[in-house]
Amino acid sequence: MRLGFLPCFLLGAALLAGPSETKLPAWKVPLEVKTLPNGLTVVVSEDHSLPTVGISMVYRVGMRLEPKGRTGFAHLFEHMMFEGTPVAPKGVFDRVIQGGGGINNGSTRYDYTNYIESAPVSALEPILWLEADRLKALDFSAKNLKNQQEVVKEEIRLNVKNRPYGSWWLDLPAAAYTRWETSHDGYGSFEDLDRADLKDVEAFHRTYYTPSNAVLGIAGDVKPAEAFALVEKYFGALPTRPKPAVPDLKEPLGTAEVRQVKTDPLARVPALAVAWKVMTRGSRDHAPAAVLAELLAGGDASRIYLGLVKGKELLLEVSGGLNFPLGNAWDFDGQTMFGLFSLYKPNADADKVLAGLDEIIANVATQGVPAAELERTKTKMLSDFYSGLEIPLYRADALAKAQSLWGSAAQLNEIPRLIEGVTSEDLKRVAVTYLTRANRTVIDYHLAPVKP
């Protein structure tokens, strides 16, 4: 997995010696990695500036690997991870973490599920015990499953069904991809969620929740040797099962534009969602695609903002990025998309917005990008990359995800060099290869007709 990055490393290292970069801070996350005999990989990053720790347990399973015909199951399962174990019944987990001054959460994405905690360092040991305990076994209780089926349906009502354009981030992959794994509704249909039973929960836990499929990140006020010893103490005796294979789910780029119109009865302003399938993680086009996405859609100095929110004044607002909105440019595996979501104005329509986007993309594809613009785009990316590592919780999570998805936590510290290595020619190539009309998926959200 590391090999895909090698050419970029060398290029990045060569550029780093140049004079213009000497002023930029060269900050790195300290890290040590160890794999237990049962396959659990542990990444530790020490920082003694405040007496806190961040913890992230990343399992290499997400929406793309949930059982066929069981939409939303990976996410429902994530909820079940908080519903108690045979040893620590429902309520103990939150009670112990809150009592230790900590917070916790979990989230399910396409390629991974993570469980995070942040707390004063005094709570580190009980938290590690709790994580090991729920990796061992869950309380497979019908009552708790029923409860969380209801909670998850309320979550979907809140985030999808009761808000305008709530489904846009589900509609795009559904339209762009053809495989069930990549195109299905990862939040889940109510029918599928209701059909989930305890056997499914048990089988999913048995298959994917095994030390060999997990990475534990720990960052903050702890020495690596101490952290490794604690992890050994609580996780070392857990039996392992083989790491489940990760199927190759990538699809060829599109050959004809997919375009849909949907009517949204809740919306008061029309919206447009656009996405292009892009390269796979770790390919030579990865960092260039990340830089191009930032250049096009990364804030008030980006070309789409300056061109279409300002400039042509077609859009009310726009947001977007690589792997948007379920992650950042780096925390995915396999294939992802460059996605945009915008509200458009009364003087605009989808054709005008798309023509504006095409013009902006064609400009990059044919002219490349001026050196100063490329430089400041990279500086902003570097700064944002650092911001994403400001506190122990973020570090633990980013390191664990890099180890789980890329096979190397140390790769995280290479991202600044990957960004730095991107050239104007790279951006042209990536724009020409991926940001084509044929490879584009467009969903236009119209308002419902006004009732007389």
Partner: protein, 470 residues
């Protein structure tokens, strides 16, 4: 310059024993105890007032290569005249759209080159500007921050675009049930007091002109009515020098805004329904006005809120989510402003359990005043408050935001160090008093946005329902 040095401590020493309290089931025998507490390093805040009256607070945090600067100027949306309320927010949003020396685009591109960001907005009591950048670019960041704060020009074209976009954004927001609920809730709580404001109206947007925005800016932005707070990887003396260069010649030209009258401390109990066709949930708000951030009840109220609804292990979350499955995201907040405050519980519940959810919320609210909180629950809430306070203030942005807000509310920076000790002093009896004083169900206002026919039937189980359009 004075330097404030205070040691913080979470004082969690008795927690393992505390957890074995009587009212909860025993914890698993194998669960290891919490480790020893470690002291929190002292806050090391450098404070100085420039000759022009600008207050400056700097907290150096070496290592992580970014800096954040927060400028707060007294007088926010609540200081606007009633018929122009929200103009301060519109003005704030236009600060970085052009200055005497830079266009909007130049500002955006310069910020990008610093690895930076700059945002401005208005709260009820102040206008805030927040900027961040890679740490080696601090002087340029301060220069930009001073430029947009001191020399905005409100170019006609930018004002026109901002007005058009604000009008359309308002339309888009009308589709969000939370927007509708918050607006009706604030009005129900604060009546004609300026804290009832939640969003600018189209009429106020239409009335704004470049001249009116310039005049408002000139009146509000006075150095002696402002605080500048910095944190990050910086050298204090160099930072003061750069601040002097960017802000030193900023001169006061007038008085600050007049102080607001105290906000109402109570409201009428009422059930308000905002019909929203097509809603599949009831978006619920329950709450009342409370106290200002400087009031002695404010910290105990925060603690009582952790127990009632402000944390995942709180009573309301355990009840209506973890036991009943009525909702995904219940929450609660005790908010303290300069001259008043509010308490609010929020939940989005499926329509058919609207009344059932409210019944449980009322039960949990009343229980806070009628029975005493157990020792474990109290200790746990204290640890949680200490830990989350520490967690938030690890982040530069949160730390400088907290400190700037303290200044606006009339608190000293030492309030940061006093917070955890104050929390730890609160007794079970005091929590019960807070419950009686602020949480009694009979004193709350209820706002629901949802399906008109179904939600009305649900609410009528409690009494008369006022149906209103917004």
């Amino acid at each position: 310059m004075t330097i404030l040095r205070t040691t913080l401590s979470l004082l969690l020493t008795a927690q393992a024993a505390g957890l074995a309290g009587s009212e909860e089931k025993p914890l698993p025998r194998e669960l290891p105890p919490y480790g020893a507490e470690r002291p929190i390093p002292a806050l090391n805040l450098a404070q100085r007032t420039l000759p022009n009256g600008l207050t400056v607070w700097i907290e150096s945090r070496p290592g992580f290569p970014r800096v954040t600067a927060f400028l707060a100027v007294r007088g926010g949306n609540a200081a606007d005249p009633a018929e122009q309320r929200g103009t301060a927010g519109l003005m704030a949003g236009l600060l970085n759209e052009g200055t005497t020396t830079r266009t909007s685009k130049q500002i955006a591109e310069e910020l990008q080159a610093l690895g930076g960001e700059l945002a401005a907005w208005a709260g009820p009591d102040a206008v805030f500007l927040s900027g961040s950048a890679l740490s080696h670019r601090l002087p340029t960041l301060l220069n930009l921050l001073a430029d947009v704060a001191r020399r905005p020009t409100f170019p006609a074209k930018e004002v026109e675009l901002a007005k058009a976009n604000t009008l359309q954004s308002l339309q888009a927001q009308e589709a969000q049930p939370s927007f509708q609920a918050n607006r009706a809730f604030n009005v129900a709580l604060f009546g004609s007091h300026p804290y009832s404001f939640s969003s600018i109206t189209p009429e106020t947007v239409n009335a704004a002109t470049p001249d009116s925005l310039r005049a408002l800016h000139a009146a509000r932005f006075q150095p002696n009515q402002a605080v500048l707070v910095l944190s990050g990887d910086l050298q204090v003396e160099r930072a003061f020098k750069a601040i002097g260069e960017a802000f030193g010649d900023w001169q006061a030209t007038g008085e600050g805004p007049k102080p607001l009258l105290s906000a109402p401390a109570t409201c009428q109990r009422a059930f308000v329904l905002i019909p929203r066709p097509g809603s599949v949930q009831s978006t619920v708000r329950v709450g009342r006005p409370t106290v200002a951030a400087t009031h002695e009840d404010y910290v105990p109220l925060q603690l009582a809120n952790v127990i009632l609804g402000g944390s995942f292990s709180s009573r309301i979350v355990r009840n209506i989510r973890e036991e009943k499955g009525y909702t995904y995201s219940p929450g609660a907040r005790a908010s303290g402003l300069q001259v008043g405050g509010s308490y609010s519980i929020r939940a989005d519940v499926r329509t058919e359990v609207t009344a059932a959810s409210l019944m449980e919320i009322f039960y949990e609210m009343d229980r806070m005043g009628t029975t005493s909180v157990g020792e474990e629950e109290l200790q746990s809430a204290k640890h949680y408050m200490g830990g989350t306070f520490l967690f938030q203030n690890q982040m530069q942005q949160a730390l400088v935001g907290t400190l700037a807000t303290y200044w606006v509310n009339g608190l000293k920076p030492g309030a940061l160090s006093d917070f955890i000790p104050k929390v730890n002093k609160v007794t079970a009896e005091e929590v019960r008093r807070i419950g009686r004083t602020y949480f009694a169900a009979k004193d709350q206002t209820i706002v629901v946005v949802g399906d008109e026919a179904k939600a009305k039937l649900e609410l009528e189980q409690f009494g008369p329902v006022r149906v209103q359009a917004r």
